[in-house]
């Protein structure tokens, strides 16, 4: 191993080499976002190799899916990315609808956009707050959770649950919004909008934050694509791809008529539809700062989408429509669909033999691919950069281990 490391030109050469030490970070560690275990090979403060060990949260959800009907599996998708359960529900529901060639009502479509974009804000708030925690500042975390609580209150009112919603389901949604919900949502957005500036002051433009994240863990475009990274991790490297715009017809049709600009740096600048802080001089495209900043932009973008969805939803006069029966039979065949979840592209692959119970279920998790690239990014960094890099990938172990 030592020989191999000596030959690797990417590893920083030291004047003095001491004994290498294997350090176990996790599965019980404050900054590994759940039960991730990283084995670090360190020489003093410098990390020469990081090996992630996963599987501590493995439930074999795919096997469970082979024994339940399509709608019965919805609660299991909740528990994958539990920070964005609405988006997970939507991914599975759309994959089943794609196989069954089913189309939901117009009202359900707009309600789905409304709910998933609201959940995207909640998920990015956790990502942002926890990232501050990784870098040693505690307060932004609580500021983020304070706002997330309000979103969860809205969700609780809509579907009765605060974390695992099972609200979006195959063929529509389990219930319509209660009366007065839209006004509360609008009040939340009004109240939330000025707070984003606070987050930018505490994190995005904070001098120490920039020092800790700019030019750290730089991921090239090619590396991101080769590892199948997606979501803010991919866009942070400057790849202009968002499944809401570039995905399959059944998914992009949901966003038909919605105006939004993909949060990615194009021709040297980010979208200018709002008043965003400037990119610091030290930041390099593909570093931790850019991945973080893309998430912050998406929060504003999602707020715009929520507002548009609220208008369209309230303009819809027809009924919401009933979801499919639990035992509704699926045609034989297979369908794969990727949706743009907050953490990245979540793919569901469904193979059916003609019954209501799928023959095979496969969940392609975005965090799984995003974490796979961590060992490339962490090579030669300092110990303190490991939480900074892993945190900037914004992983959720429930989704990786399934």
């Amino acid at each position: 191993m030592a020989q191999m490391l000596d030959d690797d030109p990417r590893i920083i050469e030291f004047d003095v080499r001491t004994d290498e030490m294997l350090v176990n970070m996790g599965p019980q560690h404050p900054s590994t976002h759940g039960v991730l275990r990283l084995v670090l090979r360190t020489d003093g403060e410098v990390v020469s190799e990081v090996e992630p060990h996963i599987g501590y949260l493995h439930r074999c959800a795919e096997k469970i899916g082979e024994n339940l009907t399509h709608r019965q599996w919805i609660p299991y998708t909740d528990r994958m990315d539990y920070l964005a359960a609405m988006n997970m529900n939507l991914g599975w529901a759309l994959a089943v609808e794609k196989l069954m060639k089913y189309q939901v009502s117009e009202k359900a479509r707009h309600l789905r956009v409304l709910i998933t974009e609201l959940n995207r804000i909640a998920s990015h708030l956790v990502g942002m707050g926890a990232y501050g925690l990784d870098l040693g500042t505690f307060s932004p975390f609580l500021y983020a959770f304070r706002e997330r609580e309000k979103i969860l209150d809205l969700f609780e009112e809509a579907c009765g649950a605060r974390l695992t919603y099972s609200y979006i389901t195959v063929g529509g949604l389990t219930a319509d919004l209660p009366a007065g919900w839209l006004a509360k949502c609008e009040a939340f957005l009004e109240q939330f909008e000025p707070i984003i500036k606070e987050y930018h002051a505490l994190l995005t433009t904070n001098a120490i934050f920039v020092k800790r994240t700019a030019n750290i863990g730089v991921m090239s475009r090619e590396l991101a694509i080769e590892y199948g990274c997606s979501g803010p991790v991919l866009r942070g490297s400057g790849v202009d791809q968002d499944m809401r715009r570039d995905g399959e017809a059944i998914y992009t049709a949901m966003y038909d008529g919605y105006a939004f600009e993909v949060a990615v740096m194009k021709n040297g600048h980010y979208p200018r539809d709002h008043d965003y802080p400037a990119v610091p001089a030290d930041a390099v495209l593909g570093d931790c700062w850019h991945r973080f900043f893309v998430r912050m932009l998406e929060v504003v973008q999602s707020m715009d989408l929520v507002r548009q969805a609220m208008d369209r939803y309230s303009a819809c006069k027809g009924p919401l429509g009933e979801p499919l029966k639990l035992t509704e039979k699926m045609p034989a065949g297979d369908a794969y669909l990727e949706t743009e979840c907050p953490k990245g592209q979540m793919g569901f692959y469904l193979v059916s033999d003609g019954s209501a119970i799928p023959w095979r279920v496969r969940a392609r998790s975005s965090s799984f691919s995003n974490l796979a690239v961590a060992h490339e990014l962490c090579r030669g960094c300092l110990i303190a950069d490991v939480p900074a890099i892993v945190g900037s990938l914004d992983i959720v172990m429930g989704e990786i281990d399934r």
Binding site: I54, G55, H58, C60, E62, K63, K98, L99, K101, I225, E226, Y227, G228, C229, V239, Q241, D246, E248, A249, G333, D334, A335, Y336, E338, Q345, G347, Y349, V351, W359, R360, R362, R364, F368, S369, A372, V373, E376, D401, R402
Partner: protein, 178 residues
């Protein structure tokens, strides 16, 4: 958006002769079937030389086709086998492509001998973990993989949970399994 044009398939045929053994362009997700031993050649061409560069591997799935219920098994039309499914994506053209490959359930039909397929890690580095997961849960041996170990299950786990005839062990280090 999916690659549907037969012209593209002709180009693939010309570049990697006799690799494509089947196709279904009318399915919801049109797919082409590739001979398992040629999978690396096909993937390398798709990723590096084809007019549409499929530069990203999104997912690898192994489907175990085995009916364990004897009543239903009498009705099925297919022979037991394992199907490998590769979902590719092109970030430049924003189109997807589905590759399939058929493997036996066991190598040379000897139970316990894992079926083999060449690893595509050399084409996309991101395939590493996906192949480890398929090996872990479905029991497919990827030849040429740099580090084929279990990834989600413990390293000393026995059996391959996503196979249809898998039975949960009664006991794992003193923990009751079922």
């Amino acid at each position: 958006m999916t690659m549907r044009g037969p012209g593209f398939l002709d180009q693939l045929d010309a570049a990697v002769p006799a690799a494509v053994v089947g196709r279904n362009l009318e399915a919801i997700d049109p797919w082409i079937e590739v001979a398992p031993e040629r999978i690396v050649d096909v993937c390398a061409w798709l990723a590096k030389s084809s007019p549409v560069r499929f530069d990203s591997l999104q997912c690898i799935t192994a489907i175990d086709w085995l009916e364990t219920d004897p009543k239903k098994a009498a009705k099925v039309t297919w022979q037991p086998h394992t199907e490998m499914v590769y979902h590719l994506w092109s970030t430049s053209a924003r189109v997807s492509l589905v590759l399939k490959a058929k493997l036996p359930r066991w190598k040379s039909d000897v139970p316990g001998e894992l079926p083999e397929i060449p690893s595509v890690c050399g084409v996309w580095r991101g395939a590493n973990w996906h192949e480890r997961e398929v090996y872990d849960l479905s029991g497919i041996w990827f030849t040429g993989h740099p580090d084929l170990r279990r990834i989600l299950c413990p390293e000393d786990w026995e059996g391959y949970p996503l196979r249809k005839d898998y039975e949960m062990p009664l006991d794992y280090h003193g923990i009751r399994g079922r």
